[in-house]
Subunit: 328 residues, 2 copies
């Protein structure tokens, strides 16, 4: 099948760029040094490619992602890097090693009650989101152990740092965050110090595993940073209307994560998106029926709108992978 035969909008993944990204990352962070985050792609076929590059430990953001990864035999060591109040479904997952993040008595209770056996203490390292205070980590670890849970260590996501432009600033703020995490680790014990993302994959030298996910497909937000990863995913769209001042294609708010702003179109200025449209000013003559490639600003909520990824080599579709980890 050829790209031109696709119904649009459709997600295209360049096979060579994806392979470049996976190989580059696994050279920098081999095996368990990387715990790939599946939330960015929500696709077990892509996770299998990451496994083929030597990574057998994975990070998830939802229970559904955990269930789906275990279901396809990628359950050697699955971390739900998020708090849950009801761990019943997690406790029911078979043929997988399941670890869940906890940051409170209530989430520790939920893990124990739900039949989960292993936890990480989630520590707030500067992002105003989940995670306990550093000084509270030891108390929570003791509580978890008293409830019979194996406390494997700590995690702390420097999400306020990973997207910063300057590498020197990223490194400096990452160190501050990781000092907090290491202080917590000293109180908690265990083997795991889990942190990081695509923007700090090589400057975070304090954590012993990095939870990067966006590196595989990338987006325009991460592409602004000085990273060795290529933008591997775009949304293919068809031009449906052309006026003297602008053109319109069939890729809108229901095909694109918009929290990081408008997507980009090569050789064009994007004016705005509506539900099923993108209005843009092309630099060269554009005609109804032309295909364009729209580069999303944020990969994770873009992929979550689609049910499949088309893997392409030049104009040929060489594989189609279901986005099978959607929903909750």
């Amino acid at each position: 099948m050829l790209i031109r035969d696709l119904t649009t909008p459709a997600l295209l993944v360049d096979a060579a760029d994806l392979e470049h990204n996976l190989a580059t990352m696994s050279a920098a962070l081999p095996g368990p040094r990387l715990r790939p985050h599946v939330k960015a792609h929500k696709c077990t076929a892509l996770a299998k490619r990451q496994a083929a590059h030597g990574h057998r430990t994975f990070t998830c953001a939802t229970i559904r992602e955990m269930e789906g990864m275990a279901g396809v035999g990628l359950g050697d060591d699955l971390l739900l890097a998020n708090e849950v109040v009801d761990a019943t479904r997690l406790g029911r997952i078979r043929n997988a090693r399941i670890t869940v993040a906890v940051d409170s008595e209530a989430t520790i209770d939920a893990a124990a009650r739900g039949g989960v056996r292993e936890v990480l203490i989630d520590v707030n390292v500067g992002l105003p989101r989940c995670g306990c205070a550093t000084e509270d980590a030891g108390r929570l670890a003791d509580l978890a152990r008293r409830k019979g849970l194996n406390v494997r260590g700590v995690m702390g996501y420097e999400g306020h740092v990973v997207g910063l432009d300057q590498r020197s600033t990223r490194t400096q703020l990452c160190e501050q965050s990781m000092q907090l995490l290491l202080q917590a680790h000293a109180l908690v014990g265990g083997d795991v110090v889990s942190a990081g993302g695509t923007g700090t994959y090589d400057c975070n030298t304090w954590a012993n595993e990095i939870q990067a996910g966006s590196y595989a497909l990338m987006d325009t937000a991460y592409a602004k940073l000085d990273l060795p990863f290529r933008r591997a995913l775009c949304v293919l769209a068809t031009v449906i209307s052309v006026s003297p001042a602008y053109a319109v294609a069939d890729c809108g708010l229901k095909a694109l994560g918009m929290d990081h702003g408008n997507p980009s179109v090569d050789g064009a200025t994007v004016l705005f998106c509506s539900d099923e449209h993108i209005t843009f000013v092309p630099e060269s003559p554009t005609h109804v029926g032309d295909r364009i490639r729209v580069w999303p600003a944020h990969i994770d909520p873009t992929v979550a709108y689609h049910d499949r990824l088309h893997i392409v080599e030049a104009e040929r579709i060489v594989d189609t992978w279901p986005v099978d980890l959607r929903g909750w």
Copy 2:
């Protein structure tokens, strides 16, 4: 089943508020005066409720929506209010009256080639998106008729007007837009003058049918206007982490359309959303495990992330409707 038994995030639709909205709209625009737009809810069960209120003509934004509506017997008069370059799938739909918007020779060709028999000439009435120039509408109608298509009339969406705060401004700019549409109609002929949206449903007195969709479920953007419709849909979320300064619930960028900005939480200030989280500052004590209701800023791209709507009366779930018109 009770709301407290739901996995979160989950879409809740208040049955009474939905009914209020449907009844209010059908009283103002009975029968074919309203051509409900299904893109806002993408749910044939909800469309059947609209049909029960007397509306048998519907508006769609995608071919998938057209196919789905015809498939459940709601195909009396379906308008695809959008241009398509390949109308083959439209031409194959059986047991339905199919009309498609056209605004160029290429889209007229596509309709004729694809086996579609009826079209509306789509006119640009001020929104920089699809639609031909007013003065071009007659030429395109003639071309369509020469190709054997039945030209039913015109459509033109005043999308730059529907969201404006002041009713007087909306009415004034709506009139300007509709003067353009009526000029085009004089050149085109036919019975249909189709336009409008929830924000102009009662001030657009020039079109003979209104394409409103958001009125059924509403969102915080439309709730700012002086409209008689109630916010009927929210995203139920669970608080998973509480710190002294803020709380975090499990409803993020993959559960919310974000192009109109952050959602709202009653009795709280929303700080930001990330993929699976909303961080907010509650005004009253909040605990892990509490349920909160998150009000999306834009309904259409919110619903498109979810696979079902839960219809609720107080704390009870009285029905669950699939969001069955997603995708393309």
